[in-house]
Amino acid sequence: MTETAALAPAASMGALTWRRFLRHRLAVASAVVLILLIAAALAAPLVESALGVDATEVDLLARFEGPSAAHPLGTDELGRDVLVRLLYGGRVSLFVALVTAFAAAVIGTLIGVVAGYRGGLADAVLMRVTDGVIALPLLPLLIVLAAVDPARVPILGALASDGDSGLARIVVIIALVGWTTVARLVRGAALSLREREYVLAARTMGAGGPRIMATHILPNAVSPIVVATTLSVGNIILFESVLSFLGLGIQPPLPSWGNMLSNAQELIYEAPALAFYPGLAIFATVIAFNFLGDGLQDALDPRASRD
């Protein structure tokens, strides 16, 4: 009984949000593009077998081939099929971006809600740390972090043995610096939410801090978290791709959109197409995530919506 009573108004809120989201046509188009991209990346093995090629098979007699029936986007400097590698690269890049965004959102949410709800010394310390991280020159720092030998770091020693594809490491280092926006937003929301009557009511009924934070503060701070996390995915893809491009991120032979471009600069005379496709894939994905974030922002925050 109580559950249906609680659900009815929530559903109409959801419908309103959905309608506002649908009005943002670029965001809807972006959502469709992203779904197609993810589906295509997931279907990489199917495409591989349909074309009868092998993503890792090196064929030095078939280097730099142009588009053909067997290789719709041609072959790379080792004679591997570019399309299939793009799809596998997409798997890696999208997986890294989504996992990292989620990890960063979790860190940011925890820090933000504790700072905002507890206030006082905890807030002061956590927010100084956040300000400090925001003031860091991100890219140079990420390069240093990526160059660090994990075996020398006490806590990260375990990561050294992950087969050295660089997957776990890149997720950790980007999440480590990428949580600040969410932390600030959640703190702001928690600061105002903790003054609400229902929080007071919960406290008088004897609910403890963690319970109030989890059941009363967080559900009401979901919108900014969702928007900020969506917008962060684009940036994470850009960071991952540039680190992989510089040879510090995802290590070959595992393809990512970034490391597929690693050799592209030297090969720009022989094979400009090799430099074109992976970058275009990154570009399209980042644009789509950014528009999706814009659309979600308009939909979830009616005050900022157009009239």
């Binding site: 020159p137 140079p140 720092l141 390069i143 160059a147 540039v242 592209a264 600069q265 570009f283 157009r306």
Partner: protein, 322 residues
């Protein structure tokens, strides 16, 4: 005001001090130390020699002690020698700084010159075709991977058409302003695209917000020409938050110059930072990173001060950030 600035400067110094330790510690975790590199280069060096050298340079000491020694020397103005350039770090750094400032200054001017008019036009006719096109272009500018954009520009202008150099600062015979300008066009273009996109979005948002204010309605109601309403009443107020964002973005631009400079082999701070990290040039890398941090911190401080200076409604009293 004076007290506020002093407080913020102190805060900046503390963050810088903490960062210097963090970066120092991180450098120590990068593979190899200077002696390991010497051992690789010289097969005649025995392990005993290596151990003696490590003791001589203090590399066998604990991290805190090494950091303390570095800090004491740095505070005395001695930042050590660059391993790769064999010259004092400061001597390597200063000429590069000039090149980076030229690159960044020009990108700043270019991106603002593009973003201001476009953002205003977009805000004046929102939710029309033109606005959507500008919005799309601005977001595209933010979303394009810098290194890929640089690659594409090099391909088009240097490889295909052969009209502009693919990289460097001047041609070998060196020379005039015109020669330098040719080498600046592509890097400036690359660096400007992303910031122009960001600025355009801020100008548009700020302008739309301002146009909704009562004083704009008043200005129109008293019969001022639309041109005057927009340029004098709306734009001037809309620019206040934009100035803050522009100042804030300075640190980001400094960090973003790393990719652009590396792609175009432009001999600036960004490329120096990258090369020193990759080349295990520890003293140099440390100073480069700290310098980048300092620039970011100062631009944040500058943004706050400029904001308060432009907008008399902001006071320094009361708590910040609430």
């Amino acid at each position: 005001m004076g007290r506020y600035i002093a407080g913020r400067l102190l805060e900046t110094l503390i963050v810088l001090a903490v960062m210097s330790f963090v970066i120092y510690a991180l450098m120590g975790m990068m593979p190899g130390d200077p002696i390991d590199i010497m051992v690789q280069a010289d097969p005649n060096l025995t392990p005993a020699d290596a151990a003696r050298l490590k003791a001589l340079y203090g590399l066998d000491r604990p991290l805190i002690e090494r950091y303390g020694n570095w800090l004491a020397a740095a505070l005395g103005g001695d930042f050590g020698y660059s391993r790769v350039f064999n010259r004092p770090v400061i001597e390597v750094l200063l000429p590069r700084l000039g090149n980076t400032l030229a690159l960044m200054g020009l990108s700043f001017v270019v991106s603002l010159a593009v973003a201001l008019p476009i953002g205003v036009v977009s805000a004046l006719r929102p939710y029309r075709t033109g606005d959507y096109a500008i919005n799309f272009a601005a977001l595209a500018g933010i979303s394009v991977p810098t290194f890929w954009l640089a690659l594409m520009l090099i391909y088009l202008f240097s490889v295909s058409w052969g009209v502009l150099p693919a990289g460097g600062v001047t041609s070998i015979e060196g020379g005039g302003l015109l020669d330098r300008a040719r080498y600046l066009i592509l890097p400036v273009l690359t660096l400007s695209v992303a910031s122009a996109g960001g600025f355009t979005r801020y100008v548009r948002a700020s302008m739309m917000e301002t146009l909704r204010q009562d004083y704009i309605r008043t200005a129109r109601a008293k019969g001022l020409p639309e041109r005057r309403v927009i340029l004098h009443h709306a734009l001037r107020n809309a620019l206040i938050p934009v100035v803050t964002i522009v100042a804030l973005s300075f640190g980001g631009l400094f960090s973003g110059a790393l990719i652009t400079e590396t792609m175009f082999s432009y001999l600036g701070m960004g490329k120096l930072t990258y090369d020193s990290i990759m080349g295990n040039d520890y003293n140099l890398a440390l100073i480069c990173l700290l310098f980048a941090t300092l620039v970011t911190l100062l631009s944040n401080l500058g943004a706050d001060l400029v904001y308060a200076w432009l907008d008399p409604r902001i006071s320094y009293h009361g708590e910040r950030g609430r």
